[in-house]
Amino acid sequence: MKLKSIILAAGLCAMATGGFAAGHEGGVKVGMITTLSGGGAGLGIDVRDGFMLAAKMAGNDKLEVVIEDDQRKPEIAVQLADKMIQSEKVDVLTGIIWSNLAMAVVPAAVAQGKFYLSPNAGPSQLAGKGCNPLYFNVAWQNDALHEAAGAYASDTGYQNTFILAPNYPAGQDALTGFKRFFKGEPAGEIYTQLGQTDYAAELAQIRASGADSVFFFLPGGMGISFLKQYASSGIDLPVVGPAFSFDQGILQAVGEAALGVKNTSQWSKDLDNAANVEFVAAFEAEYGRLPSLYASQGYDTANLLLSAMGKADVKDADAFRAALAEADFASVRGDFKFGTNQHPVQDYYVREVIKEGDVFTNKVIATSLTDHVDAYAAECSY
């Protein structure tokens, strides 16, 4: 399925914020490659909707967006990137959800002089030695939410957390990240199969391990399965995880089983800052559902880009890069700035899953890490 929509922001909306100085030549053409079909489509759709919401609210007619579906396949993402760079002549690429797809697309794109703004994936390779002046990550380095979870587990006094993640690079990063900030000794460490949906065997091991808590990173359907099975297993240990398994898109599918779970995130819908209040209300009004973590990242990505467009012409790469690096926009996360490797330096919060009326959602209960710089920044030099 090809989903293609070229959206000219012109005339979409008259609520121009007026913050953009006139006189910069030409507009910016953005190529968004994201996952819009298949099992992982919910994430890509949220990033796209968040991004397009920001574009619509800004009403900047110099921003043009081309959207294509990568079907979560690296080879398709590479083809789309080639097409966007060569025939669509985009200036900026963005949108990729998955780290393996990002690794397939980003190094080649920045080598051809295109900017890449990552709204989600933050593989360690691109944060450390493989960092690039044209690559900006607006979400997080992959390890960060897990580091925050490790810090929170230690702060709470957990001594021997049982940890598990799928056996693939991001899963290994997750457990490494957790252990980096966890002061106790894990009671057990399991790598599950990627895409595994039955966790009976792991649950039996958790029960037998004598752990005092459980940390897991199981994105998408894997996390839903795990939590539902955890709830009926009779195990009564507290659960900590990164926000991915407890986000707005999947909480309704998990149901009661997720209530009370603590999860770490750089964003939550109840963060009390003006940009976030405006974003949450506008997103609900536009799409009729609550925004997710991914939508917030898409929204911030668009606003970062818009802020740079107001300061420099994308054809002047150095000036545009400097404008992006300033991160002079109101992030829905509150304070936001880029570190030396152009990855976020930001706070990470602990959220608790609650029920508001009929809807499962999160509320912030603590701050886990403040102005956290990722572990790879020191390895990056341009």
């Binding site: 056996n167 895409g195 949906t197 037998a208 998408g220 099975q229 009926s232 599918a253 009661e256």
Partner: protein, 306 residues
């Protein structure tokens, strides 16, 4: 590793095995009787799960949801057989694979249009949400015991159907000699539709039963489909008995491999690399099992030797 943990894991393996059996039984019947490779079997599993989630959401009744999964998957199966599959019986396997792969894409995107991109909610009934104590102090989720019971009951029912009923005789005859039973006056095309719908209904029921403890989402059927193919290759294509034995073997190998291999490697390796090597080998274990079976019996454990 304590005995209790081991018994619990054997139960887990059994439960996984009977689920695979529900998928594999339909697949092996369809292949045995019609000579058709049906890649879209996983989509029927998904249809069952989505139908169950939708009905459970509307009525709140889990029993109605299970019924809906049977009916929806059987209806989808019959419809697909009448519209598409019927034209494929005389084609070679490559055409069948291509056409049924196209069906997977159509089912997946169709489901996404109807139900959206986010996973649906389907939970087990509250009465079964608690673990039960088994003799020996084992705590085991009640719902998983129910799955084992349903799966075994269906296995017994299928054996009776195949061995004792007129339809069963026709199915077996159809496997043995298609032309002859048509010549004897059996309405072969009706029989094919019936077998296809039966296989689809079993897949749909498996989808609903598993969907309640896993996630109901687009694409949930394909990983199970691959395992179901492994099962019927191990068991022998066309054999219901083979499907049952193969499914239990695969279920137990997969579960126990995942539990026992990492600690085994940890006895002579560093903990974190043992965990990762052990897990990798565990995910290969069923394919190693398949290769071993095929070396020993090239047509599978209960396959016909012709």
């Amino acid at each position: 590793m304590s005995l209790i943990l081991l018994i619990e894991q054997v139960l887990n393996g059994l439960q996984f095995g009977v689920m695979l059996f529900l998928m594999a039984a339909g697949l092996t019947l369809i292949f045995g009787v019609m000579g058709l490779i049906n890649l879209a079997h996983g989509s029927l599993y998904m249809v069952g799960a989505f139908a169950a989630a939708a009905v459970a959401g509307l009525t709140g009744s889990f029993v109605l949801a299970l019924l809906a999964s049977l009916i929806a998957a059987a209806a989808a199966g019959a419809l697909v057989e009448l519209l598409v599959i019927r034209r494929l019986y005389d084609r070679d396997h490559l055409d069948q694979v291509l056409a049924t792969f196209a069906l997977i894409l159509m089912f997946s995107e169709g489901t996404r249009w109807v139900f959206g991109s986010f996973p649906l909610f389907l939970d087990i009934p509250a009465a079964l949400a608690q673990p039960v104590s088994l003799p020996g102090g084992i705590l085991y989720p009640a719902y998983r015991l129910l799955i084992i019971a349903i799966g075994l009951a269906i296995a017994v029912g299928l054996f009776q159907l195949i061995a004792r009923t007129r339809i069963g005789i026709q199915i077996r005859a159809g496997e043995a000699d298609r032309e002859m039973i048509a010549a004897l006056g059996v309405d072969i095309s009706k029989l094919y539709t019936l077998v296809f719908a039966l296989g689809a209904a079993l897949a749909g029921l498996a989808g609903a039963l598993v969907g309640a403890i896993q996630s109901v989402q687009v694409g949930m059927g394909e990983p199970v489909l691959i395992l179901a193919f492994v099962v019927i290759v191990i068991g022998g294509i066309g054999s219901i008995k083979g499907a049952l034995v193969g499914a239990l073997l695969v279920g137990l190998t997969d579960t126990l491999g995942g539990v026992l291999l990492p600690p085994l490697f940890a006895t002579f390796m560093e903990a974190s690399s043992a965990s990762s090597v052990g897990s990798s080998l565990a995910s290969m274990s069923i394919y190693i099992l398949m290769a071993a079976v095929l070396l020993y019996k090239p047509t599978g454990l209960f396959g016909s030797t012709t």
